[in-house]
Amino acid sequence: RLAYSLSDEVLEHVFSFIQSDKDRNVVSAVCKSWYEIERWCRRKIFVGNCYAVSPKMVIRRFPQVRSIELKGKPHFADFNLVPDGWGGYVLPWITEMAGAYPWLDEIRLKRMVVTDESLELIAKSFKDFKVLVLASCEGFSTDGLAAIAASCKNLRELDLRESEVDDSSVHWLSHFPETYTSMVSLNISCLGSGEVSFSALERLVSRCPNLRSLKLNRAVPLDKTANILRLAPQLVEFSTCTYSAELRSDVFSNLAGAFSNCNELRSLSGFWDVVPDYLPAIYSVCSRLTSLNLSYATIQSPDLIKLVSHCPSLQRLLVLDYIEDNGLEALASNCKDLQELRVFPSDPFDAEPNASLTEQGLVAVSLGCPKLQSVLYFCRRMSNAALVTIAKNRPNLTRFRLCIIEPNTADYLTGEPFDVGFGAIVEHCKDLIRLSLSGLLTDCVFEYIGKYAKKLEMLSVAFAGDSDLGLHHVLSGCESLRKLEIRDCPFGDKALLTNAAKLETMRSLWMSSCSVSFEACKLLSQKMPRLNVEVIDERGPPDSRPKNCTVDKLYIYRSVAGPRFDMPPFVWTKDEDLALRLSP
């Protein structure tokens, strides 16, 4: 038997080729010795819900982690549905890891509350710190950034995408010492105008030869953009910051010249306030562009069509509805490599269309782009026929998110709900992992989803369904479901309690403005000790209202860490023990 056992070193070497968490989890379940070897050599941890496990538990099992990714608030926090102060604080994690993982070099956070104190602790504790990604985070200022800049000599990546940063008027960029040269990726597009010193930025860019990705904020004017590009012609990703002004030929030719040197450029974004006359300045790089984010550019369809026709290699396009149906038709005929399309509404709160964008545009792209996999589409009208066409022509879709802006909108041709249309999507697109529904929908659509969407991992539902049966279909049918988020649907206690066990197989369930009672929440919580059932209600104690009163918001997630200790006063659980409520 000994002849068949491999030494620990060999096993560890073999395991080092196994990167995916899923595979590593399987490996660690084979036998005790594999579990032990694996846990000592796991270097990367992903925690999809920071409250699902405690930092101490992670450290105990995996003592030599180098890279960690944590996610905090539920996705609907992006749309203001989660009140401030709900949670998602990173400091307890940083505090524990500071002692346990001195060689930690990567921290990636999403929707977490990060304080200057946390950033200072990171700067102080991790000697070889390389990567800091703060996606949709908040709670910190440029003071914290200054600490990172000053201390992290080997920092390669600083990405603040979509975070909210308070301006403390510290010229934090100048805190990078003159000897610092390792920047590879810098994303500060979320910063306000006062927070970036342009001369410090120029000096930084000029001394970092490995810089590949640079995303600046809007305050950098057009003429300075050219300077930056000339200092970093090796850029692969760049976010422009154009300044609204009439065309000046000297600025234009300077900019065009700068772009023409950028042979590695593959991804462009930014384009704030871009004046269409400046767009030809980027034509020299367009043929190589694979990713284009024009979702802040208020340019109209004719200019968009011209631009897109210069980009045959495009794989990813983000754009406003100004592109219109005819723009999408042009996209379909020019960009045969397109894999991802996102069309955002230029005027989301206007019930009237702002641009001539309908379901036709999406149909055109789905017919013309054979590699299309990922769609996010805001529009004001849709038909079942269009959805069926899309489904049949693009069975390779993996992400399909449709937002018909006005809730409960019916098929504009037939007046019917979109059950059949979305049913076709889940039936034909067998690899669909993400789906967002909208428009008029009955329980029928959920029956289709439960029946066909076997690989679906994330489902978003709003203003849909008739009864608990809808929710029941999804919870009982969708085998791969991990995240379910629901708002304004008539789903209640019955479906939830019947499918309690299912909830432990998922990361989380969000339900707001539905029909769930506090009694059911308490019952569920008692039945399922490894679920945290949080009622978010700012109106006061749910117990103080009549029994049939429904809760405002409900967030249920599985956890091996038990109830959390940092709940704010508006989060209610079955435990009435107020001693559990400590301030963060």
């Binding site: 203001n80 300044y243 802006i405």
Partner: protein, 172 residues
């Protein structure tokens, strides 16, 4: 500053605006959730005005699902008269452009037009007529845009809801 100005375009000889009308609304989107929209109330076939108020009358938080940061960034664009002091996201630019929303009865799509690049009512009317492709909407019109321009009258609706002839007011 939030001006509510609505302009309308009508064929002469039409009594009480029963003919197709071009409507212009000037609004400033300083507060996205603000109820200030330049849509008329009793004026048009009310499917427009009723629909346009629906969204925030319902008080829908977080709908449509556009991320807060994206809304903030879009809000800074185009919409005029914002200084750096008012809104830190907008940088130091001072913009002179004045975008006005234009709607035409019977046409689903509204358009936006920059009033400041026009120097007179005539030029504005001409642009609007071309933009809305009046020849396809009014098949009984012959001749060029210029020839027909005089057939159209620009009107606007002030804050009190009264309809006034635009040419009576000097062009700023």
């Amino acid at each position: 500053m939030c001006m509510e100005l609505q302009l309308g375009l009508a064929l002469p000889g039409s009594d009480t605006w029963s003919r197709p009308l071009l409507k212009l609304s000037l609004y400033e989107d300083i507060n996205v959730n603000s109820k200030k929209r330049g849509f008329d109330h009793g004026y048009l076939e009310d499917e427009f005005s009723a629909a346009s108020f629906k969204n925030y009358e319902k008080g829908l938080v977080g709908w449509p699902p556009v991320e807060t940061w994206r809304r903030k960034k879009l809000r800074c664009q185009v919409h005029n008269h914002m200084t750096a002091a008012e809104n830190g996201y907008c940088g130091g630019r001072a913009s002179n452009s004045t975008y006005v929303k234009v709607k035409m009865e019977g046409v689903v799509i509204a358009r936006k037009i920059d009033i400041s690049i026009h120097q007179s009512f005539e030029k504005l009317t001409t642009t609007l007529m071309t933009m809305f492709d009046i020849f396809s909407h009014f098949p009984f019109i012959f001749g060029s845009v210029d020839e027909n321009r005089r057939s159209f009258k620009l009107t606007y609706q002030d804050k009190e809801g009264d309809w006034l002839i635009a040419e009576d007011v000097p062009w700023r």
